[in-house]
Symmetry: C2
Subunit: 245 residues, 2 copies
């Protein structure tokens, strides 16, 4: 079982030590894999809710549209993420999944969760914690959308991206690859592409960031952390209450 190459195991092991049995359970989730080109819609909101996906590589995002076309991107997915988890609670998908670039996904059926819940209390606790932690992150995004200016929102997004990428990539520096277009960033932050453009330019002038192609360097991370009152929700979780199995 090549669990070494599993982003999911890597990501989850960051929080808690897993038994061999649990590692195997997770590895089976990544048995199948499918590749998609850039800008491909894997499933659509309203579709019957069949599979979950583990991201093996590439970026994707989930979004919803209003009837008149306004779009809100609600989550950006990176390697190791589980896609579609929130929809498990419902019968139909609530969001549409779209790839940003070339992506490899591992689909697995909802019913795999059944197995985990029955056999591994410890893994169940971890999955529950991930779901709850994601709620906290959504709440942070909500705060950004409700009460922050454009520059603060962009700063928040960049800090959040870096924090997430650092989990699986410990030697991440202050430079990230940002394959999303400014329109997509706008749809994520509740702004317009025009205003994103102006905000990036302003932030570059002010020395917060430096851009080069689709790579972006954070120059004043501390200032941005203070500006947005940023808290890293990914580095630590409270696993002290977990069942020992």
């Amino acid at each position: 079982m090549s669990s070494k190459s599993s982003c999911l195991v890597t990501k989850l092991s960051h929080y808690v030590s897993l038994s061999d049995a649990d590692r195997d359970r997770l590895a089976t989730l990544e048995k199948a894999e499918r590749n998609f080109g850039a800008g491909y819609e894997v499933y659509q909101g309203g579709d019957e809710n069949k599979d979950l996906y583990v991201v093996k590589h590439g970026w994707a995002f989930s979004y919803t549209d209003l009837p008149d076309g306004r779009r809100q991107i609600v989550k950006i997915h990176h390697p190791g993420d589980i896609i579609g988890f929130p929809d498990v609670a419902l019968k139909h998908a609530t969001t549409t999944l779209r790839t940003v670039e070339e992506v490899c996904l591992c689909p697995f059926p909802k019913s795999s969760l059944d197995e985990i819940l029955r056999r591994s209390p410890r893994l169940s606790a971890l999955l529950l914690s991930i779901a709850l932690r994601d709620q906290v992150v959504l709440i942070d995004v909500l705060r950004a959308m409700g009460r922050m200016s454009a520059q603060e929102r962009v700063s928040y997004m960049l800090l959040d991206l870096i924090a997430r990428l650092r989990i699986t990539n410990r030697d991440m520096t202050d430079t990230i690859r940002l394959p999303m277009t400014q329109s997509q960033i706008a749809d994520y932050l509740g702004l317009t592409n025009v205003h994103i453009s102006k905000t990036f330019i302003r932030m570059e002038e002010d020395g917060y960031i430096h851009r080069d192609q689709n790579r972006l360097r954070i120059l004043r991370e501390d200032a941005m952390i203070e500006l947005t009152d940023f808290h890293d929700r990914y580095a630590d979780m409270d696993t002290s209450w977990f069942p020992q199995d």
Copy 2:
């Protein structure tokens, strides 16, 4: 065991049939109870994360502040809700809990979840589903905040409140009690109290709602559902994949 009087059991039974053992497990969560006056802060963001709470009666809300005082209310709590669930994943509370009016809460320790995860896969699945459903709801709120006008946001909030209250109160009509101030509503919707006032007046003039004291009547629910593309996330959940115990 007076599980008949338990809002939590009522709320959860709405989704799935529970064994007596499971009902008892839930009932023990409501053993203790504490009363609080209006406008009381039960715990604060940053506090060590000790207890969860089940709401027995009264409204409360969770919020976060930015350093400069901007406030975002992230969740409004009603009877039967579990408060502080998202924070289980972390060591410290991320939000402050404040009562809207006189409230009765039942505190229980995080470790009670341990027991549930080890003993009842079915109840574990339900708790996980609740957490995931709440994520979907947060995503809906996010969409409202990111892409909707003031009137649309207010409409969305009212529809959401009604949908939630209808779960435990099946004979709810089109009239709800709204004990929150306009400043609190503004902090929930990412607007200002002034604009909330103007928006309510406008909506009343346009025949969407009627206000009387702190009671509010929805006159054109269908129009508001269409305006906001509203989906009820509370009525149905997909419990088909749950372990049978």
